[in-house]
Amino acid sequence: MNDALRILPEIVLTVAGVLVMVVDALMPKASNRKPLGWLAAVGILGALAASWWQYRLPPGTGYFGVVQTDAFSVFFHILIAGIVLTSVLIALDAVTPETEGLGELFALMLFGSVGMMLMTSAVELLLVFVALEISSISTYIMAGFRRKSAKSPESALKYFLLGSFATAFFLYGIALIFGATGTTRIDGISAAVSGNHAFGLLHGGLAMIIIGLGFKVSAAPFHVWTPDVYEGAPSPVVALMSTGPKAAAFAVLLRIAYGALPQLHGHWVPILWWLAVISMTAGNLGALRQHNLKRMLAYSSIAHAGYILVAFTALSADGVAAASFYVVSYGAMNVGMFAVISHVGGYDDHLTAIEDYRGLGYSSPLLGGAMTLFLISLIGIPFTAGFFGKFYVFAAALHSGMVWLTIVGLINSGVAAYYYLRVAAAVYSRPAAAAPIMSLEKASFPLQLALLLTAAAILILGIVPGNVLGAARAAAQTLSSASDSK
């Protein structure tokens, strides 16, 4: 029983997911399946409450020590629940009762989040792998959900092929580490590394794992799939997969880097240093050339992965906390952006060129204003989540003496301002009278709710970040104390 409490949110989500599937099967063929989305939302709220409750659970492991609930796992659980909840709301706005496969879509969102959550609490690499697969396979399917368009299945296929290749790398990395240390438990690895001389195997394993997770977080040079997949997948799905799996993958990377292999930091810090520089630069330079908003955001997400990797190199509790905080703020602003895009572009993506958004501020002050807020947060203007995230990341990096990385990163954020601003300027330029943007449907209730959630998160994280910072720092503490005690 005690074991089950350690995975309570995952259990709640699984039950909700199964329920959605069963109800979906029992409903008459022609009936409206949108209520299933609300069912899913209720399930996620339950998981959110369960995660919150886990804060009161004394930190510990369950199921023979393969899952661990601590401040770190709960922090990411709540984040993932928030992301999935908002994505479901966005989906509720985007789809019509006639959209095919609605029941499956909502069920997959729930199952996917089970995987993501489990990734953050697993302390046994094989379980991490299984959770990674649960999350990935759900997202592969969801990416191809718009079967009638050519781009969506293409996106799903690309994502699947490259994704399985990356998971194979990850698995191979686990095998090598097992070869070197004789265990796949996080704490076991860190204990075994101390007196270990099988460095070749260990380094090989580390490199493989970084490649596998680098793909999942779309860090350059493992990023080539991102623009195509984001462009082809339905926007509500992109809202989820550009944030949720990334958050989970960063959590895994943090656990492995700081929990399992802290002694190897002399090796992984330079690697991540370069990954950060390449990701920031490649992402921002790529985004400059885009005309399609979804592709632009794909490149921007590569750059943001780079900023988060900067925090990894700080090698301090502050660095871990900064990375965790940044993942949250990135989640809020990116999900918010895709909420707007999903409503304006529609499920069929008929308006995704940046020029199409010209005049959004006039045709819909609410959507235009929300989009502007998300954009200035992505730029990193103070009093928004994006600024505080960057500020904290670079403060941690500079504190650890990473002057050049900080300079490169902040110059990058200056470059990035250009392409975000181009969108903001378009939103407030006068539109052509007959532009399709002028005949926009009013935002539905679920979308308004999604916008409210994300906008409030951005302002709270930007103006009074104290509580979230405290939680991020508590999460960081559990990781470093785990490694310090060895």
């Binding site: 203007i381 103070p382 670079f394 403060a395 902040l410 601003l421 378009a426 407030y428 330029s429």
Partner: protein, 511 residues
Amino acid sequence: MLNDHILTAITLLPAAGAMVVALLPRKGHTIQWFALLVTLATFVLSLHLPAHFDYARRGFQFEENRPWISSPAIRYHLGVDGLSLWLVLLTTFLAVIGVLISWRAIETRTKEFYFLFLLQQTAMIGVFVALDLFLYYGFWELSLVPMAILIAMFGPARGRQAALKFFLYTFLPSALFLVAILWLYAKTGTFDFVQLQDALTNQPSLFSPQALWWASLAFLMAFAVKVPVFPLHGWLTDTIQEAPTAMAMVVAGKLGLYSIVRFNLGLFPAQARLIAPLMIALAVIGLLYGALVALAQTDMKRLVAYSILSNLSFCTLGIFCFAVAGLNGAVFQTINEGVTGGAFLALVSLLYERYGTYDMSLYGGLASKLPMLATLYVITALALIGLPLFNGFVGEFLVLSGSFEAHPAWIAAATIGVILSASYILWMVQRIFYGQPSPLAANRPAVDLNAREQLMLWPMAVLMLVMGVASPYWIRAIDGAVSGLAGTSAGTAAAPASQAVSAAAAGQETQ
């Protein structure tokens, strides 16, 4: 009680007003009236500051200092000294003028306009009162957003490009500025201005001289773009052309100049002295270049833009000569530029509202048709060229006299700039108001200033005169704040400012 929270009230009142504007209906002039109410209330509140300001005391007053975020150690620290006192008042004063000037000029999308306009006021006041570098940086960057959006929204021709240009010009150097702030924090563990100043003066061993030099450059670069200092002025003309008048009035000058004095002179005095020769040269070049280019303009708004560049270079010159009188003059001139330059832009836009063009060659002979407008125009022009009795004279006199000893050659060159500025402004007045009435002036009905326009222009005109005649009232506060700066930088204080001020006053009496 009020003294403890007055700065928060002044800073946040416009933002709170903006939130209400977002909820008001778009009917009639509700939004305009409400915005006027908010800006007036803010102005009245800000009058509390000079009334209760202790002129004898050094350091910051009306301070608020409370923890905001525990780690990183960020504090909510506000305060004003003689340097920022008048700049806060200038901002709240121009906000009222800004609402009045936009009353008719902005007829569509008023809600968006006034929302962003009020937000901009909060950001600008915040820059002047924030004493925590994090908070300061927040307001500094925030001030870009409403401005850029409004330029994109209301720019008549190339609003989008101008908005991008304006934003990126300031944002890019701000990135390095942030690195410098973070570096200071990494070394000292604080963002607090007072503590940083203390650490930089008393614990120099914490910092490597080379890194300190780079940090000071990063600060200076960000501010110099904002002023703008000569080669970095690329954004200015486009912004002034494309921005709504109320925003163009506040876009240049005070934020950057204030920051240079506060931070470059306050935190990095030695480094500021090292770079001074370069800055003086750039200032004089900017002064002459701006005046010469203004001389060649036929477009009134572009002329104003270049004249602003020229006048602001004057302030930069005064700052980097490191004489007490020069610094006093520079700060005083910054305020003048806000008032006079603002009035100048307002007048030009009133002409545009009447005749639909900024092209001077199409105007002529308006003096007899619009006597009131012409009078105010001439007053403003005389203040701009620094005629004695007007505020411009005091500022120019202080800068020139205070700095002459140290840099006679540069000051001589700057004086040529003063003469040039008189030429282009008087020539402009002559072309618009005198001579034969042009076809344009003859064919349009002559509508002189209405009550609202007078209500906005007369206070500015009176202020130009009062600031010229009673300048010591302003200077004594400024002097208290900047004399220390010149002292720490020069080691020995130059001619006491009070002397120079009385000299300036004497000069006026003899005129």
